[in-house]
């Protein structure tokens, strides 16, 4: 039986913590396990890797059983790559020898059937060509993590597991590595399970999202499905937003603007340098969408979309409402005061103008 799913069911008990999940993830793209610290996302990832052996567990990858009943494939026999949160390079080996450690033990690609990730390709992809002769202690945190990611790729994994690879780094280092992760995602046809507590990383990398809390998976689904739910179980507060995937269709040279077409409409935003036809992700924060009964042209706002009100709920703060809007086949979330919602007479099915103050390419 072949399948393109990862089916997992784990039950792991510690004296002060219980992990209890039953999940099905797509075996393609980036699935993010998202939650606050202590939510069990790292424990879950370790169960996927075989580093943790739950009392009860069933795990199959594309129809191939890794754990069932008493059967348990140990970590070193699973076709995975793993990137740990903190630096995990072997301290007795140079960066190059750390890569060679993986190359020597790599999965034979004739067995896995997937295309080989060449040494040079991995080095180029992560920009570590000039670091190879150094010892781990001579590398910065970000550089170490890039070497560790390259090493995980060179094992020729069929599934890449990443445990908050950016969490131990400061902001500049994070921004340094994120583009490499995006390239990796675009250039390699490799399913990734990525643990994170950062909404930014979710917005930039996730295709599929699993929200975790207290050892349970609260909800899971594609990024657009999950983020646009008003009752998204993890309170994001100021970060409440939706992410749209679109294509650059026009670049206005005079005003330095880019037009991004998405399923249901288009938005104009500051020219980000992306070529026409390139795929981009844009993020729109709920607080950046205001609502109006009529379109205005006497405003500085350039993006105004006709939308249908789908759902209204009160936000965490009782003075605010979250409004779910439908534009074509795409959902947006707007956050307005409850008074405005009342004065505008917002109700399900009403057509309203969504004025988008700011859109960012991510």
């Amino acid at each position: 039986m072949t399948s393109d799913q990862i089916e997992a069911q784990f039950n792991l008990s510690y004296p002060d913590f219980t992990l209890d999940v039953n999940l099905s993830l797509p075996a393609r793209g980036v699935s993010v396990l998202f939650g606050h610290s202590g939510s069990g996302k790292t424990s879950l990832l370790r169960c996927f890797a075989g580093l943790e052996r739950p009392q009860f567990g069933e795990l199959s990858f594309k129809g191939e059983s890794w754990q069932a009943g008493k059967q348990f494939l140990p970590a070193h026999k699973r076709p995975i790559g793993y990137v740990f949160q903190e630096a995990s390079l072997f301290s007795h080996l140079s960066a190059k020898d750390n890569l060679n450690y993986a190359i020597k033990r790599a999965i034979k690609t004739s067995e896995s059937g997937s295309p080989q990730i060449e040494r040079e390709q991995a080095i180029e992809l992560l920009g570590i060509g000039n670091l190879l002769e150094r010892q781990p202690h001579q590398l910065s945190g970000g550089e170490r993590q890039r070497v560790a990611i390259a090493r995980a790729l060179l094992i020729q994994p069929q599934l890449l597991l990443m445990d908050e690879p950016l969490a131990a780094l400061d902001l500049p280092r994070k921004l340094e590595i994120l583009p490499y992760l995006e390239r990796l995602k675009r250039q390699l046809d490799l399913p990734i399970i990525y643990v994170s507590h950062s909404p930014d990383e979710v917005a930039r990398l996730a295709d599929y999202l699993v929200a975790m809390e207290q050892g349970r998976a609260l909800c899971s689904g594609s990024l657009s499905e999950t983020l646009s739910q008003l009752d998204f179980p993890l309170k994001l507060g100021e970060d409440t937003s939706v992410v749209l995937e679109g294509i650059v269709t026009e670049r206005d040279r005079t005003w330095k603007l880019t037009r991004v077409q998405f399923d249901g409409g288009h938005v104009w935003l500051r020219d980000s340098g992306h070529a026409i036809h390139s795929e981009v992700r844009v993020r729109i924060l709920a607080r950046d969408i205001s609502l109006a009964k009529a379109p205005h042209d006497d405003t500085s706002i350039i993006n105004t979309l006709a939308a249908e009100v789908v759902e209204i709920i009160t936000d965490e703060h009782e003075g605010l409402s979250l409004v779910r809007l439908k534009v074509g086949n795409t959902y947006l979330i707007s956050r307005v005061t409850r008074r405005s919602a009342h004065l505008l007479g917002l109700q399900q099915g009403l057509t309203i103008w969504a004025q988008i103050k700011s859109v960012a390419v991510i």
Partner: protein, 230 residues
């Protein structure tokens, strides 16, 4: 210093004994240390206590039981006689065996501490890089525990050089076979030849000081954390 032929023979024998014992102990002690560092077995504490026993027991007690064990009526004595090897007491081989027991904790404990200090993370990293446990042992554990191995070798060697009571019980005083430096010093004192005893004793003090100096200079942390007290 002018050492007699008997002194030189004793020095040579001591170095030979300590070298053989150290090499054998690294081979025997490393797997024991690895097991102790990683096991969750209920046998861990009894085995730890057994390994550490020579640290606290008087050498005469160790020597006595080894003598009985290896003697003509002891279990090992029976075995060696059946194999046509005679008995081990009062031979160099017997001395090697006794020294293995006597110096075991001085080799096992530094290695065990070094392996425990590595923690689980390097082992997990190796597992995610498809290294089997045996592969991990040779490619990660041994190289990373090298300071501990070095400490173990130095302590095992020095401790074997310094043994006296066990040698006397098990090996007696046979020139070129079991008469090591510490026994030779004892003989000099018995014969009231204090100046010869001085020369050999000074050599031992100098040697021991140099060994410890090297250890603390190149490997201060490992020496400090070896947990070995003698």
């Amino acid at each position: 210093m002018n050492f007699t032929d008997a002194d030189l023979a004793a020095i040579w024998l001591t170095l030979k004994l300590a070298t053989v014992v150290t090499l054998l102990l690294l081979l025997i002690g490393t797997p024991i240390a690895w097991w102790l560092a990683n096991t969750r077995s209920r046998w861990k504490n009894p085995v730890s206590a057994l390994v550490a026993l020579p640290i606290v027991l008087p050498p005469s007690v160790i020597g006595f039981y080894l003598l009985v064990f290896m003697g003509p009526n002891g279990p090992l004595g029976h075995l060696t006689q059946t194999l046509g090897l005679g008995t081990l007491p009062f031979t160099f081989e017997g001395l090697v065996l006794a020294s293995l027991v006597y110096s075991l904790p001085f080799v096992v404990q530094p290695i065990q501490n070094a392996i425990e200090a590595l923690g689980q993370r390097p082992l997990e990293v190796a597992a995610t890089l498809r290294a089997s446990p045996l592969d991990t042992f040779f490619s990660v554990v041994l190289p990373q525990a090298r300071p501990g191995l070095l400490t173990a070798a130095v302590l095992g060697f020095a401790h074997t050089v310094g043994e006296f009571g066990v040698v006397l019980m098990i090996g007696g005083n046979i020139p070129g076979e079991t008469r090591v430096v510490s026994v030779q010093i004892y003989d000099h004192v018995e014969a009231l030849d204090y100046s010869s005893a001085h020369e050999l004793s000074l050599l031992m003090v100098g040697f021991s000081f140099m060994v410890l100096l090297l250890l603390y200079t190149f490997n201060p942390r490992a020496a400090f954390s070896s947990g070995v007290k003698s």
